[in-house]
């Protein structure tokens, strides 16, 4: 399964960067994410609930950031398994300033196995696109609300950053 696209977020790259690489904030944006805890440098333990067609379930795994070039690009690695099957994927995200906003170009590929592959294959692409869209919609909303709050540093986020 391959995904690619572009999206514009209403904040400069530095702000988008800090949103995307901050685990607690990120966990709120990821649809179905129930847990995202540090597990080493740039590595998180993740628990995600995800359903496709009649097959829903929890997936446990890791989320990793690699080749971080703030605030320009990074690689996201996902590896998870659950009762409905397994997912292993890698995506590249590039941030380009466009005035006050940031254009994000993403490309990614995921391998899916087990029940979700044999039963949900037809719906997978659409479901993945929907998740990506939900994610960026939430990111937009998050950035807009931070803007509304006069771009003040968010204290709990800061506290967590220390932990990283």
């Amino acid at each position: 399964m391959k995904l690619a696209g572009t999206v514009t977020l209403p904040a400069p790259p530095s702000e988008v960067w800090s949103l995307l690489t901050d685990a607690p904030r990120l966990s709120r944006l990821l649809p179905g994410c129930e847990q995202l805890e540090p597990d080493g440098p740039d590595r998180y333990k993740a628990a995600v609930k995800f359903g496709i067609a009649a097959i829903s379930g929890k997936y446990a795994g890791t989320l990793e950031f690699a080749e971080k070039k703030p605030p320009h690009s990074l690689i996201l690695k996902l590896d998870g398994k659950g009762l409905p099957g397994f997912v292993k994927g890698e995506g590249r995200i590039e941030l380009t300033p466009k005035g006050d906003t940031t254009e994000i170009a993403y490309t990614g590929e995921a391998h899916v196995g087990g029940l979700i592959a044999s039963v949900g294959q037809r719906m997978l692409d659409a479901a993945a696109r929907k998740i990506v869209q939900q994610f960026f919609d939430s990111a937009k909303a998050e950035l807009e609300s931070t803007k509304g709050a006069a771009a003040e540093p968010n204290s709990p986020v800061k506290a967590h950053r220390k932990g990283n």
Binding site: G85, H111, G113, G114, S118, V119
Partner: protein, 777 residues
């Protein structure tokens, strides 16, 4: 023998119980104290197993046993393969994977619980640590240089190479006016019987008796194999194939679950049942076809075929099942079809990939052969701008050429190919069809006509050409009340022999078919037999029944003659009586003669009491049914839909015991071919995931996809058996795909298309028309 019943369209004796849903399949059987097995299967196409942790599953409520491959190490032998090809590499499938999994769906662990839901739920508690490896999915990449071998100790993924050559091929290609080349792909299919597999095993420790009920086509072979796999005395194993809901070859096999469920019942001392789910059936029951054929044909300008050369890549999957390596060799044997082609050569490369094994699926190697040769005939016709019918007719052997020896080493028993062709042309009104096609093309409508003249090899025997016995058994026992039990070694599962064998018995013994009970599928009742596959149950199994009937008849003739004071040679069996030809007064009721055999007071001197005869019949040759199928399609220019407009099938399966059943077999076979031609395809993605893993994604033909199938027959009896019957179980699937493919290619000819690989999905056809719409002729 007067034929009052043979050849008549009697309705099937089997149908009332099947239609009412009151017969018993494996899953309908319930034993006291039944336990249930569930299998954990690999989600990976290729991975090392680092560890299997069963501790949580073992403690789950209701669970009595949980085992991984390591737990049964050495206790159960791997899945047997009966096919032998010189220098073939070993690829035995362990009943549970041990260190590595090689296809999605391979069993890794088994759980037994007191109910099937507890067993299923416990699977979720098993933790398997897999180390994923790169899957090898594409067979051509699998044998490319540098590909990692799937099996330890192999240097590559070539399972075997098989060659067959006859005639002077060099001369053929040298003297050819034209050489035509084409690559043909015969896609992988899933057999999809309505009843999935199922096994029940019961072990009685006191008697040491193991009973296994299985949805199988081969109860006796399964019994032998279970005994061998478990090192258990065969004499104490009873296998029963109860009602079996379709097999199409997929139950002509020995599966890990059959041996494992038996093993579990022995371990637990409790009956254990396993019922396969549809998803398991898709992933872990054999698949069919899956060949890439590169073919070259040498032709003369007048359309005569001089030579045929083909290289086949056969995708075998990860392991061998019972006949896996043998199936593509049948394609080789039948590659010249029903034509006099003086020289032919086939090379087959069998290849291991990370997929389920391929094996016998209705037609088993022969649909691939007819597809190959019939596509070649169409390509020759297109190249030489001749009518496909004329190219075929030009190359037929004539009736006086039979028995006809092919360059591939076979002897075709009998045939009159032109007769079947002419009848099909007449029924279809071929000339008119061509006129209609020309007219429609002018209107921008794309009608196509496909013709397939096929011959197939069936009536599987003799033993010299079979991996495990080419004979069949039958016992006929007239019971003291005059009713007749017919025990056949064949194992019908939809073919209707409970009806046809009774028809035969009725004519031989002069009594009503209702007096017969055909018993099959129980190794404790039926003499050792081979089973139902390869369109052999009537030609081989039926002949064994016929010979046993004649033996019983002869004994009855002696008894009756003795009772009425006449000559056994002069006794006539009719209307429930055995009478002397010379005088109607010299007559006894059938039952009276039978009674004499059991009461044994009035028997001729030196005659043994009882009335039972057993025959083990082995034919001297295969049989070669043939026919012509004509298919008419219309392709929708806008959406690429292929609509079946007409289908005419003229089949010659020799003598016919029951035309209704022959009709059913032909229609069903053709519909299965429509499935392959238009819809069906088992698709593994590049990671080896079976993405057509259920009926939502694997399209089977519906009634609405079909047109009425017009059938007719010619009758050319075989000299191979005394009944003159050839077999018809696979004819439909063997004859039909080339007719469908020919029709589609013919419809697309205005777009410059001469060949399209199956399945003819709308998007594929639409793309082809779109790509070449600029050059519509």
């Amino acid at each position: 023998m007067t034929t009052r019943y043979i050849g008549k369209p009697l309705k099937r004796k089997e149908d009332p119980r099947l239609i009412q849903g009151i017969s018993h399949y494996v899953d309908d059987l319930n034993l006291a104290g039944m336990h249930y097995a569930a299998f954990l299967r690999s989600p990976h196409a290729h991975a090392n197993i680092r560890s299997v942790d069963l501790s949580k599953a073992r403690h789950a409520s209701g669970v009595v046993l949980a085992l991984s491959g390591a737990d049964i190490d050495g206790a159960i032998q791997p899945v047997p393969c009966a096919a032998q090809i010189p220098d073939m590499k070993s690829a035995a499938r362990p009943v549970l994977a041990r260190d590595r999994v090689r296809f999605v769906g391979e069993a890794v662990a088994v759980v037994v619980a007191s109910d099937r839901y507890a067993a299923r739920d416990a699977l979720d508690l098993i933790e398997v640590d897999y180390e994923p490896l790169t899957p090898i999915v594409n067979p051509e990449k699998a044998i490319a240089k540098g590909a990692t071998p799937l099996h330890a100790g192999h240097k590559d993924n070539v399972a075997f190479k098989w060659e067959l050559e006859g005639g002077d091929l060099k001369a053929a290609f040298k003297s050819a006016d034209k050489v035509i080349r084409q690559r043909l792909v015969n896609q992988r299919l899933i057999p999809v019987p309505i009843e999935t597999r199922g096994v029940i095993a019961d072990y009685q420790p006191g008697e040491g008796q193991l009973t296994v009920w299985s949805a199988t086509q081969i109860p006796h072979l399964l019994r032998t194999q279970i005994a061998s796999m478990l090192n258990f005395p065969e004499t104490l194993v009873r296998v029963v194939a109860p009602e079996v809901g379709g097999g199409f070859g997929s139950k002509l096999n020995v599966y890990p679950e059959e041996a494992l469920v038996a093993y579990l019942a022995i371990q637990l001392g409790k009956p254990v049942k396993w019922s396969e789910s549809r998803r398991e059936n898709f992933q872990a029951t054999i698949h069919g076809r899956d060949q890439i054929d590169d073919v070259e044909v040498a032709v003369k300008r007048d359309g005569s075929i001089l030579g045929l050369r083909c290289h086949v890549i056969a995708d075998l999957g990860a392991y061998y099942q019972l006949l896996t390596p043998l199936i593509p060799t049948l394609t080789g044997l039948m590659m010249t079809g029903c034509y006099k082609i003086p020289a032919a050569r086939m090379e087959i490369t069998g290849v291991f990939t990370n997929k389920m094994a391929t094996d016998a699926y209705r037609g088993a190697g022969r649909p691939e052969a007819t597809y190959l040769i019939e596509r070649v005939m169409d390509l020759v016709a297109a190249e030489l701008k001749k009518d496909p019918v004329e190219v075929r007719r030009k190359n037929f052997p004539q009736p006086n050429d039979f028995p006809y020896a092919t360059p591939t080493g076979l002897i075709y028993d009998s045939g009159d190919y032109e007769k079947a062709l002419d009848m099909a042309l007449k029924v279809a009104d071929y000339k008119k069809l061509r006129q209609e096609q020309a007219k429609l093309r002018k209107e921008g409508r794309y009608m196509g006509i496909g013709v397939s003249t096929y011959v197939e090899i069936c009536g599987m025997g003799p033993s010299s050409a079979m991996p495990a016995g080419g004979w069949e058994s039958a016992t006929v026992r007239v019971e003291p009340t005059g009713r007749v039990s017919v025990m056949t070694g064949s194992s019908p599962h939809g073919q209707g022999q409970e009806t046809t064998f009774a028809q035969m018995g009725a004519d031989v013994l002069g009594i009503d078919p209702s007096q017969f009970q055909v018993v099959h599928g129980d190794t404790s009742i039926v003499p050792y037999g081979i089973g139902t596959f390869g369109s052999r149950a009537t030609a081989v199994g039926g002949t064994a029944v016929y010979k046993s009937l004649l033996k019983v008849k002869e004994k009855l003739a002696h008894i009756a003659a003795h009772l009425v004071g006449s000559d056994p040679e002069r006794m006539v069996f009719a209307d429930g009586k055995i009478s002397a030809k010379e005088s109607p007064k010299k007559s006894v009721a059938f039952g009276q003669a039978v009674s004499a055999a059991y009461v044994a007071k009035t028997l001729p001197a030196d005659m043994e009491p009882g009335l039972e005869a057993t025959t083990f019949f082995e034919p001297s040759n295969f049989t070669y049914p043939f026919g012509t199928h004509i298919c008419v399609v219309e392709i929708d220019r806008e959406i690429g839909d292929v609509k079946l407009v007409r289908y005419v099938a003229v089949d010659d399966c020799g003598n016919v015991l029951n035309p209704l059943l022959v009709e059913g077999q032909v229609q069903g076979g053709i519909v299965q071919s429509v499935g392959q031609a238009l819809f069906e395809e088992a698709v593994y993605d590049e990671q080896g995931q079976l993405i057509t893993g259920e009926l939502m994604d694997y399209a089977l033909p519906h009634a609405s996809d079909l047109c009425w199938i017009e059938t007719a027959r010619t009758v050319t009896p075989t000299p191979v058996n005394p009944l003159g019957v050839k077999g018809v179980g696979e004819a439909g699937t063997i004859g039909a795909t080339p007719a469908l493919a020919g029709a589609v290619a013919d419809a697309l000819a205005p777009f410059g298309v001469h060949h399209v690989d199956m399945p003819f999905k709308r998007e594929k056809i639409w793309q082809l028309m779109r790509k070449s719409s600029g050059r519509v002729q």
